[in-house]
Subunit: 344 residues, 2 copies
């Protein structure tokens, strides 16, 4: 079924601290018409990811911030609903980073990644086979460079990045200790994802439990949260430990620096005395040229059942703001995807 209107969600105002529903506005506008050379994309799945919080602020970051009234950005899996471009046929699936939070968009085809006419699990291009999976793969293997027998620690252990880091760590013969919020997620990390242990960061004795779970210390800490998790990790880092940094979700909503003392010198001192390597990365900017290598390994691991993948699919574009707010609080369980429309 098609529609004669387009719905989209724009940035209404910048959040101060955690985003609220008032920071978003749902708009109904005319459905766009593809001109010569263009395709009309129908959004089927919209990905929700922590980095979106950063783009809502105007603080300097690795990408330009959104302007007020801009359509919220995000990866989408779309179908071609109408085509005036000979390279694309109606019904074909594509991955788009230019659509964002809306039901319909136009494209001249540049930057669209073709997913075929009848893909298996098309939404996985937003997760295990896309940005989050690729982030886990390159950050862990290229920066973390784990050796068999070493200990890897990763937070958000049931999320799309953390769960992939943990499972690749097991494939590489490492001890993997996950960190997640709540008993259910921790059980899933161990029983389904095969991690050696998973610690609940909501536990009062979290730091102590983490220490007990890492009797040989930590060789790779895959940093995607920051905050108190990093505080607990710091004293456990081994000499020559590696720390890929792909996210700091615990810090995104902060409106000011935490109270003192100023521990900046404690971190640089640790980097010196433990000879740590700490390296930030943005997956497509730094590793875009190695996507093929990732896709080959990951498709094989998924086919062999070595990597398991969990999605949480929520229906309806209008629910995206509430779901993103919940994501930043750790409410989701698995890769969060909005089903914007049924396939053609």
């Amino acid at each position: 079924m098609t529609d004669s209107t387009n719905q989209r969600i724009v940035l209404a105002s910048r959040p101060v601290g955690a985003p609220t529903p008032e920071n978003f506005r749902l708009e109904t506008v005319a459905k766009p018409e593809p001109k010569e050379g263009e395709v009309l994309l129908r959004t089927i799945y919209l990905s929700l990811d922590p980095y979106m919080r950063g783009r809502m602020s105007d603080a300097e970051s690795y990408a330009e911030p959104l302007a007020i009234n801009d359509v919220m950005i995000g990866g989408t899996v779309c179908q071609v609903e109408a085509s005036n471009n000979p390279d694309f046929q109606v019904g074909e699936w594509v991955l788009s980073y230019t659509t964002g939070w809306q039901k319909y968009s136009l494209s001249n085809g540049v930057g669209l990644l073709k997913l075929g006419v009848n893909p298996t699990n098309p939404s996985w291009a937003l997760g295990i086979l896309g940005m989050p999976g690729f982030t886990a793969y390159m950050g862990l293997l290229d920066i973390g460079a784990p050796q068999a027998g070493e200990t890897i620690v990763v937070a958000s252990a049931t999320g799309p990045v953390g769960s992939t880091v943990g499972q690749i760590g097991k494939i590489k013969g490492c001890r993997v200790v996950g960190i997640a919020g709540g008993e259910e997620k921790c059980r899933y990390a161990v029983e389904v994802l095969g991690m050696d242990a998973c610690i609940d960061h909501k536990a009062e004795d979290f730091a102590e439990q983490l220490k007990e779970a890492c009797p040989q210390g930590i060789d790779v800490y895959f940093e995607n949260v920051g905050g108190k998790v990093f505080d607990a990790v710091m004293p456990l880092l081994n000499t020559k430990a590696r720390m890929p940094v792909c996210g700091l979700i615990a810090q995104y909503n902060a409106t000011s620096l935490p109270e003192g003392p100023n521990r900046l010198s404690q971190l640089t001192g640790l980097i010196l005395t433990k000879r740590l390597k700490v390296q930030g990365f943005i997956i497509f900017d730094d590793y875009g040229h190695r996507y093929g290598e990732f896709a080959e390994d990951m498709n094989k691991w998924v086919a062999e059942g070595k990597i398991k993948y969990r999605e949480q699919v929520e229906v309806g574009l209008e629910n995206a703001p509430e779901q993103l707010i919940g994501l930043l609080e750790g409410k989701n369980f698995g890769k969060l995807v909005i089903e914007v429309a049924k396939p053609l």
Copy 2:
């Protein structure tokens, strides 16, 4: 002239904050006698270096701390005064890391580096051709990996590490901005060492001057000081900047963390958004296997006059404590070496 006694300086007590003369004790003991297989080493030059401060504390670090009453550690250049070891002849020069702050020591030869019978500038094995030069070379080239046209910033710009970093940076075609304490050192860094600019960290508008000297931002910050220099560097770091960390002299005497706010999350946030690589290293542990590569390049550069080297030689073992205390305050100018005895 030889002597029938040995003099040595031991750690009398652990410093709280900056070391004081009371933390050291000069002892006179019997001159040791070499047994079968041993050599008697006569210390000619003793190196003084910032890392020694760390070894005086019992805080966890990359090396075991000294025990109270241990002879202070340090690199020395010695001559063989007596030999019961067929591999060493009297009068031969060696580099020793087991002698420390004393006039005489015994060795079975293990770990001694032979410098020959009549070396040119034997004390240079403690500086440009030794640990500090090697630190500058590997930290800059392996971790910093500067490309021609990039901007390198290094503090302690007239010290043995900083001056070498700066001069290698110029050999590699980079813009080099040094930081040093006082006008005389800054002039030397530019006029003699060939740096493009050198900023006096004692200037009130130091951070502003540094910014003006780095119109293209900073691509490599060679970290050997920490403290307020790093504070001024942080906002100037470019995307994908590299930061080898070999020392934090500004922090060594700190007895507590600075007042808040807690800026740890500011540093991790910067590492993420700028995709920085921050890596600590200990030269012989991490790069010992690449010493040959360094020695070849450095001997060539020195012979060609491309690298200039400045020493400050102070006479008398008894002056070593006062000189080390001054070194930690930036009072030295060039590589600080104690002449413990005249050559045989």
